[in-house]
Amino acid sequence: MEDILAVVGQAGTGKTRWLMKQVGDLAPRILTADHQRVLAITRMHGSRRRLQTNLSEHCPSIPCSITTIDGFALSILNRWRRSFGYTRPIQPAGDAVFQETVFGTDASFEEILIKSTELLRSRTVKAVIRESYPIVMIDELQDCHGRLLEFVKALSSCSTLIVAADEFQLLDSNVPGCPAVEWLRGMEEGSGCRCKELTRCRRTAVQKILAAAECLRSNIAAEGETIPVICCPDYGPAAYKIIDVLVFNARSWHGSTAIITPSHDGFINEVLASLDCQLEKRNLKRISWFHEVGAREERKRLHHCLGVGCEAPGSTGWTAPIEELTPAASQIVARTQRFARLRGLQDISHCMVARHIDSVVHERRAYCGHSQKRVVTTVHGAKNREFDNVIIIWPYRVTSDSEQKRRLLYNAITRSKRNCMLLVRGDSKRVQKDPVLSLLGPAKPAFLPRPKKKAASGGKRK
């Protein structure tokens, strides 16, 4: 068992900074040969990108390989695949169990993790991994559970681990508690694991935001003031509140801004459409948003756009659509056609296009950076990021239990550095009845009686 240096702490307490400092201190001592690198891994691509930004900013001279845990597991398994009797390249696909297909050897991420964990038990593989990556750094360790956590544990027997986690930021609704943090805390004294707990929030000093975070975390209703919770009966008022803060209160709401929702549904699009419409009516400059969508959503759109049916996986005879395509879609078409040509396949199956949609979506998520100043995203997409201003739009339906809702809302609120506002669809009664939303204190209506009339009538005139 190698050393484990762990940090556990709430959002914004400086876990990432601590990680960078540990790597900065340790790497020059432990990395002795030119070929050695720090392996920096995370579960999700979003956190991987952010880790990459942080590393290049804080530790620019330390050689790093940055990837996702799944990606790393797949790459080592592919290098040693022959030792398990698979000769053709292993490719992640659905829930296959090492099946020979036209693409290679298909396997689910689950199966890939099982096999690569087994791989790390080998003396030789362990030695090769340790020599390649004497330090393995994992951010957002709370996201690892089940097979992922087993893989991380196996890695901990190869190299020194530097990890950061916050149990309350585990957004997977099917997992009770937080196995990763329990693992860290459960490790005995003297086992080489040092677990540091951070409590002071450094991201923001705004008392209202801290209070909101605290009451969601502790599940105790706030006594004092927290962030504003505003009830919006519909998209119009919600859009107006956004204009209110970003345009009319631009002085205090300057800087980067995110609109965060628990999930993508129609409501957010209506709000954005209304926002454009109201700005235009007022002869105000349009606010452009970078609308980040989840992988599933992006895949769905591409499937639709490329006419990939949900027929049986083997269904054949796919042809490229004639109309003009988005850059992503035409990239997929080109890749699929190249693949078929290079493999000598006359017929393109829907399944083959779907496979290329997956890989392009994956790459776009892996390599397209976030540099936008104004983004619309989900709570999952906002993980581990920070913004000056956060506007949370809470729709009617949030499909989670109240524990999960607390985590979602906590994550969304703690992304903000200066301003945070929660727009709830519905009336104040809804907020009162909701066990999570009510924690933040009484809700306000979108408009005070007088201006409400004015704005509403103004909105309806057209």
């Binding site: 050695q36 030792s83 020599e131």
Partner: protein, 603 residues
């Protein structure tokens, strides 16, 4: 570091094949078996791009690549100096690196366990794949770490950096070499070689460049050229109104470092220290010089702790046979590993049988077996052991031969070889008979069956030639009962031994016997019976044999019979029709066809 195995798929004439390479080895085989393909493939994989010819359609099996056609060359490297992959970080550590695999030298096999199995050494596999891009009409190649079967062009792969390929230090000496070019800076070969080994004398080239700029005879200053140039310059000035001198001067080369390097031509001091360019020297001398230069580079590399692997095609080219073996020893001592192809049994004889690899190719399936996997001392029969010791060169020649005959014993071998030489030197031999190149295997102690079985390991088509007498019967029985049994056996007629065959060939000379014949007959009447008896009586007298054979060169009838015999032997061995009507054949119960020369019999 050395290459212990190389595999091929769809590369040139090889659809599929694998060669296990010893530390030092020689590839033997018929023309077109794929010897050259093996060494060139290594150069493709490890050499600089331009060390070998660019890829073409013909590098793909069957020569008509489609977009999904790929060729693969997969090499296994071993002897890294350690069995611990972490001690060889360049090859095994990091994200883009080789999978540690295990080479079992004893069984010559590769295994892919996670941890080192007992008795195996660390190995790495690298591969090169090629494809034809029909849209761009281009060829594309990739060198990658081999982790299992894949299409690197669609699956993605870990590329092998040039730095590592250079570490292998493979140099190909191709057979279509221009020796003088290899020695001249004008060709890129030498420059490449020198750069490869960081031996470019940069400073000296710079000095030379400066000298050429200033310290040379200035032809533009000597009359009458100087006057003409000056007049032209004056007029130019009046046209262009340039104040400065625009006078033309002449210098050898364009005076940049590259041009200076390009202009260097190798010379050798001849008599009286006159410098003669190497191209004007004899090919033998130049080739040896180039070869030794290459070996000097090799030594230089080895001394600085770098690897050197030499792949040479026919290193004996242009060299005197007496130098062949010495050359082999130099190659072995200068390189960490050497793989040589040859047509010369002499060169091959410089290698142990375990180091000789016999390459065959049947419809694209290449096989490459070592002549022996166990030491020669393990062979029980002395006569078979001799094939690898005393008669090594002849044995190797037979293996590569077109038609292979296994005579019954030592005398049979000597007689047949003599008749073959006679037939080949007869002026009209080509007119009446088509003489195919035929190799005789030296058989000793009458161990024809064992000798056949040994060569049959490589050449199932070898044909034993046995006497028609009673020992012949037992050889026949032995051969037919053995495994593998020969497909064909040639036998002389009734009770005839090889001496009777010679008597049959000499028969036309009996009508007007010359000196040698007379002394052989020793005064007895010139009949076939007496001739047979005389030869049988002096069967051990090699000198006598030689005399008579050369004497009968003067008798056309004898020469024609010798030609006919050799033609018939080769024809039967290669499924053709013999010309003499005396031949008839029957099948043994096991399927072996016995061809009997009834015209050659004891009288």
């Amino acid at each position: 570091m050395r290459i212990c195995q190389v595999e091929f798929r769809n590369f040139r004439g090889i659809r599929e094949g694998c060669v296990v390479l010893p530390r030092h080895g020689v590839l033997l085989g018929a023309n077109n078996a794929g010897k050259t393909t093996v060494v060139e493939a290594l150069a493709f994989l490890f050499g600089r791009e331009r060390m070998v010819s660019p890829i073409s359609d013909w590098d793909f099996f069957e020569g008509a690549p489609r977009p999904d056609s790929r060729f693969f060359i997969i090499a296994t490297l071993t002897d890294f100096g350690s069995n611990d992959p972490t001690a060889v970080p360049d090859w095994f550590i990091g994200q883009e690196a080789a999978q540690p695999v295990w080479w079992h030298e004893k069984s010559k096999t590769l295994s892919t366990e996670l941890d080192p199995p007992e008795g195996a050494v660390l190995a790495a596999q690298v591969a090169m794949a090629g494809r034809f891009d029909d849209e761009a009409c281009e060829f594309e190649t990739i060198r990658y770490f081999y982790h299992g079967e894949c299409d690197p062009f669609t699956d993605g792969c870990s590329m092998v950096p040039w730095r590592l390929l250079r570490q292998v230090g493979l140099f190909l000496l191709s057979s279509n070499r221009d020796w003088d070019k290899l020695l001249s800076f004008r060709s890129s070969s030498l420059l490449k070689l020198i750069r490869e080994y960081d031996a470019l004398p940069g400073r000296a080239v710079d000095v030379l460049k400066k000298q050429l700029r200033t310290d040379v005879a200035k032809i533009e200053e000597s009359s009458p050229l100087s006057d003409i140039l000056e007049a032209a310059t004056r007029e130019l000035q009046s046209f262009l109104l340039i104040g400065q001198s625009s006078k033309m001067v002449y210098r050898p080369t364009t005076l940049d470092a590259h041009a200076v390097l390009q202009s260097l031509v190798a010379h050798v001091a001849g008599q009286g220290d006159v410098l003669i360019p190497v191209a004007k020297h004899g090919a033998g001398m130049v080739s040896l010089q180039a070869f030794l230069l290459l070996l000097a580079f090799a030594e230089h590399r080895r001394e600085s702790g770098q690897n050197f692997i030499l792949a040479a095609e026919e290193p004996e080219l242009h060299l005197h046979p007496s130098l062949h073996q010495r050359l082999v020893h130099r190659i072995r001592s200068a390189s960490v590993q050497s793989i040589v192809t040859t047509q010369s049994p002499n060169v091959a004889a410089g290698y142990q049988p375990q180091e000789v690899i016999f390459v065959t190719n049947a419809n694209g399936k290449m096989t490459a077996d070592r002549l022996r996997t166990e030491p020669v001392s393990n062979i029980r029969r002395n006569s078979v052991r001799n094939l690898y010791l005393v008669n090594r060169a002849a044995f190797y020649e037979a293996i590569m031969g077109c038609v292979v005959l296994v005579p019954e014993g030592q005398y049979d071998y000597e007689w047949l070889s003599l008749w073959q030489r006679l037939a080949q030197s007869y002026r009209d031999s080509m007119k009446s008979f088509d003489l195919r190149p035929t190799s005789m295997l030296p058989t000793s102690d009458a161990a024809v069956a064992e000798t056949f079985r040994e060569i049959a390991r490589f050449r199932q088509d070898a044909v034993p030639v046995i006497d028609g007498d009673s020992p012949g019967d037992s050889y026949l029985a032995d051969l037919v009962a053995g495994s593998p049994a020969p497909g064909k056996i040639i036998r002389y007629g009734d009770r005839a031994a090889v001496e009777c065959l010679s008597a049959w060939i000499l028969e036309p000379a009996l009508s007007s016997p010359r000196e040698g014949m007379k002394s052989l007959l020793g005064g007895s009447r010139a009949t076939l019976r007496n001739l047979q008896n005389a030869i049988l009586a002096r069967k051990k007298d090699r000198e006598m044999r030689e005399t008579i054979v050369w004497e009968c060169l003067a008798t056309d009838g004898c020469c024609e019979r010798a030609c006919e015999l050799l033609h018939d032997l080769a024809a039967i061995a290669s499924n053709g029709a013999p010309s003499n009507a005396g031949w008839h054949s029957h099948s043994e119960p096991n399927g072996t066809v016995v061809h009997v020369a009834s015209h050659v019999r004891r009288v």
